[in-house]
């Protein structure tokens, strides 16, 4: 499947992925991360049950200290 991840097109062998799978696959191990799926904010407790499919738009945003 092909998805838009953080404004870039990315291809995965899987037919679908949960948010947890995606973060693992991309090695996004940041403690502080905000996830959006097709425009909606996804809570941490929903990472295992939110399914990402072909054509979906996902943002996994890691915020850095400083200001």
């Amino acid at each position: 499947m092909k998805i838009t991840l953080n404004n870039n097109i990315e291809t995965f062998d899987n037919e679908f992925l949960t948010v947890t799978d995606l973060l693992k696959e991309k090695k996004f191990t940041f403690k502080i991360i905000t996830v959006k799926h097709n425009g909606h904010f996804i809570k941490k407790e929903d990472y295992d049950t939110t399914i990402i499919r072909d054509g979906d738009i996902v943002a996994a945003i890691h915020m850095l200290t400083g200001g």
């Binding site: 502080i32 905000t34 945003i61 915020m63 400083g66 200001g67």
Partner: protein, 190 residues
């Protein structure tokens, strides 16, 4: 005229440090109608390497010092200043009438807190956050990423640390990019 649009706009600024003080002054200079600012901190000497405060303001509450400085630049800005540490409950209460919220915190945990609160509670509002602004140089690495109503300004890499401190030039660039993004949204909104 851009001024007629700015005068109608209300921007919330969460934090009055390096990002918040500089973004607030930029918006005040162009004639923003209303600013809602919040911070719990006090101006210290170490803040003066990047924050829009003056030597004689050391020891003052940041929000009140910033309100004074905004008034000295443009007394026609309606400024609401809140001396408090923001949490989800106060973010909702204080910023409910804003069109746009600028995230101007220091700590990543706080940045995430306000992004999640705004995306959940105010999905129609715009939030402009900052991530990656430590160090110096590397002008062309600083950019803005857009995810629907969420904008992130910064280089997305340079976390602040002892060897990568927050300093006026890069923090100011990012703060002014946040103000500039708010300006663009206001021009499209009104």
């Amino acid at each position: 005229m851009y001024k007629d649009k700015l005068i109608k706009a209300c921007v919330g600024i969460a934090g009055s440090g390096g990002l918040g003080s500089n973004a607030a002054i930029a918006l005040a200079r162009i004639g923003i109608g209303q600013l809602i600012i919040a911070d719990f901190d006090v101006v210290s000497e170490s803040n003066l390497n990047r924050q829009y405060f003056f030597l004689d303001q050391i020891g003052q509450k940041k929000v009140f010092a910033l309100k004074d400085n905004i008034g000295r630049v443009n007394p026609y800005v309606n400024v609401e200043a809140y001396d408090l540490k923001l949490n989800p409950e106060s973010v909702i209460r204080i910023f409910k009438n804003c069109d746009i919220i600028i995230e101007a915190f220091d700590l990543a945990e706080m940045k995430q807190m306000i992004i999640e609160t705004v995306l959940t509670e105010f999905p129609e509002k715009y939030i402009i956050a900052a991530s990656g602004l430590g160090g110096w140089g590397r002008n062309n690495t600083i950019k803005t990423e857009k995810y629907d109503n969420l904008f992130i300004c910064g280089d997305m890499i340079s976390e602040v640390s002892d060897i990568c401190p927050p300093l006026a030039p890069r923090v100011g660039v990012v703060a002014n990019m946040q103000a500039n993004q708010a300006f663009e949204i206001i021009m499209n909104l009104f």
